[in-house]
């Protein structure tokens, strides 16, 4: 039996009295690929925000490899191996692709507190950034400003930034949103290349690409888990038919 990467227990969050996440408990095994499904407003992104610490939970606990993190500052959770992407691309548009990646690499390096270490005199940092871009096939664009690249390329940089930190748990929030067929294939390849030691939790509406990736599926509806199981189990479930596939 493999260890648990992430375990949520009785996690709840409401906004101004309106519950967004209600008593969610779930366990994700180390190295698992998990898909979170659910209609808009089901509480999927809120759940991510609770796990990352963007939002404090009202009640409940979050364990990352057995360690309770629900009261821990968001940036410290990153140092424990938690990384995420955003549904809306959240990058540094005025900076180059290489610089975007350098910021990700610095985030986990003690160098980030150094006020006299010139960034331009850190070739090892740049080399690592370029190596990441190389794997994406974007090395040639390393010195282009992010805002001058295509939407699909930005999506890949967004995921690559999270991966460059070599996380143990990666949360992907709709990585395929707004992409063309071709761009989807690029992302699919990028995701397929994620090493097995990384646990991946993904929110995605595009069932074709998501189902081929995920091993287990959790379906949320109005902030609660209604079904959890393998692909076949979930698709066959009457409640899922009703609330998700029906809408």
């Amino acid at each position: 039996m493999s260890a648990e990467a992430l375990r949520l227990e009785g996690l709840s969050k409401s906004f101004g009295g309106v519950p967004a996440v209600r008593g969610v408990s779930l366990a994700i095994a180390d190295g698992e690929r998990r898909l979170l499904l659910g209609p808009n407003g089901a509480g999927k992104t809120t759940l991510f925000n609770l796990v990352t610490g963007d939002l404090p939970p009202d009640t409940g606990s979050i364990r990352l490899f057995g360690r309770e993190i629900s009261r821990m500052a968001a940036h410290r959770r990153v140092h424990l191996g938690l990384a995420r992407t955003y549904q809306v691309i959240t990058l540094f548009p005025r900076d180059t692709l290489a610089h975007n990646l350098e910021l990700a690499l610095l985030g986990l390096s003690p160098l980030r507190w150094n006020p006299v270490a010139l960034l331009s005199r850190r070739p090892e940092l740049r080399e690592r950034a370029l190596a990441v871009l190389d794997r994406l096939g974007l090395r040639a664009a390393a010195d282009r400003r992010l805002s001058d690249t295509s939407y699909g390329e930005q999506r890949r940089v967004e995921i690559a930034m999270a991966l460059s930190q070599e996380p143990r748990v990666l949360l992907l929030d709709e990585p395929f949103a707004g992409l063309s067929q071709e761009e989807r294939r690029d992302i699919q390849q990028q995701l397929a290349a994620i090493p097995r030691r990384v646990t991946v939790v993904m929110i995605e509406h595009d069932l074709d690409v998501a189902l081929s990736f995920a091993e287990r599926i959790t379906v949320l509806h109005q902030g609660e888990i209604i079904v959890e199981g393998s692909r076949a189990e979930v698709v066959a479930d009457a409640r899922v038919q009703e609330v998700y596939l029906g809408t």
Partner: protein, 313 residues
């Protein structure tokens, strides 16, 4: 090669006023450099941190008060007094930073403004310590190692030396790995947090660095004027510094220096003819903010980039 020439030209420009036969120009140049250090320090917050402070006069002012008070009232000698002024003011900036960074954006602006106004009011009313409206005087420039700092030229050269240190160290800071983080926090705080950066602490460090250089400018201010009054803590003084940063171009290294040249020259020229500096400051503020929000230096940069073909750097 170009860089060496630029540095040489910059140094010549800095040293030229010392050759001027008129004390007036030497003094204006000294004022400009002190203002430039002050504006550079504020730019760390405004330009690189994205935190607009309207209370930055506090650091220059408190440091100037301390420098003079410690010598004239507490009987310290010059060097320990100056060091103590910078240390104490920097410590105060740590405290104020913790308070002001409870908010960002407008909240931050309003807290810094409120803190600044409170110290201004304190300087006016705490007469037994600050001398109230009359301020603190009876302070004279020392003669360390037989160098007579009372001479405008000698004092100017010392100011140049401090300015050069400040400029180089601030330039290094904004280009450092920490500086990259500071700009990242300005542009995308949430993402920076998700990348493992301690956003609040990055801002606090920038705040304290700004307080430190503001305090250094304050010591120079005290020695230049040999006098300090509540005016130094007034909102107009914070606003002038902000104007230098914005007019020159926030988030650029040379912007605040250019801004300091423009504002100090304007102030000296205008006060020679009319007494309405505050009104002019207000008008310039409205005009710059409404019509030239980017500032002078980025505008010139863009022109230069347009003239060059893309791809060359």
């Amino acid at each position: 090669m170009i860089r060496v020439l630029l540095v040489a030209a910059f140094s010549l420009l800095l040293l030229a006023p010392a050759l001027s036969p008129s004390d007036f120009y030497v003094n204006v140049a000294t004022q400009i450099l002190i203002a430039a250090i002050f504006a550079l320090s504020l730019n760390l917050l405004v330009g690189y941190g994205g935190l607009i402070s309207l209370g930055h006069a506090v650091y220059l002012g408190v440091s100037a008060y301390l420098t003079i008070w410690l010598v004239t009232r507490a009987g310290l000698s010059h060097l320990p007094a100056a060091v103590a002024a910078v240390v104490l003011t920097t410590a105060m900036s740590l405290l104020f930073g913790i308070l002001a960074l409870r908010a960002t954006g407008l909240g931050f602006l309003m807290i810094t403004l409120a803190l600044g106004q409170i110290l201004w009011g304190l300087a006016y009313r705490w007469v037994s310590v600050t001398g109230g409206d009359n301020g603190l005087s009876g302070f004279q420039r020392p003669q360390p190692f037989g160098i007579d700092l009372a001479s405008p030229r000698t004092f100017y050269l010392m100011t140049v030396a401090v300015f050069a240190c400040a400029f180089v160290l601030i330039a290094v800071l904004v280009r450092s790995t920490f500086g990259a983080g500071l700009r990242g926090v300005r542009d995308q705080p949430r993402r920076m947090q998700a990348l493992g950066w301690h956003v609040w602490m990055v801002r606090l460090v920038a705040f304290v660095a700004a307080g430190f250089w503001g305090a250094v400018a304050g010591v120079l201010y005290a020695y230049y004027n040999q006098f300090v009054s509540p005016h130094v803590l007034a909102l107009t003084n914070s606003a002038e510094a902000l104007l230098m940063v914005i007019a020159g171009g926030a988030g650029t290294l040379l912007g605040p220096v250019v801004g300091a040249v423009v504002v100090v020259m304007l102030k000296n020229v205008v006060s020679a003819y009319v007494t309405r500096w505050v009104m002019l400051l207000g008008l310039v503020f409205v005009a710059i903010v409404a019509f030239m929000p980017e500032g002078l230096v980025p505008g010139i940069d863009r022109l230069r980039r347009r003239r060059r073909p893309a791809g060359t750097t």
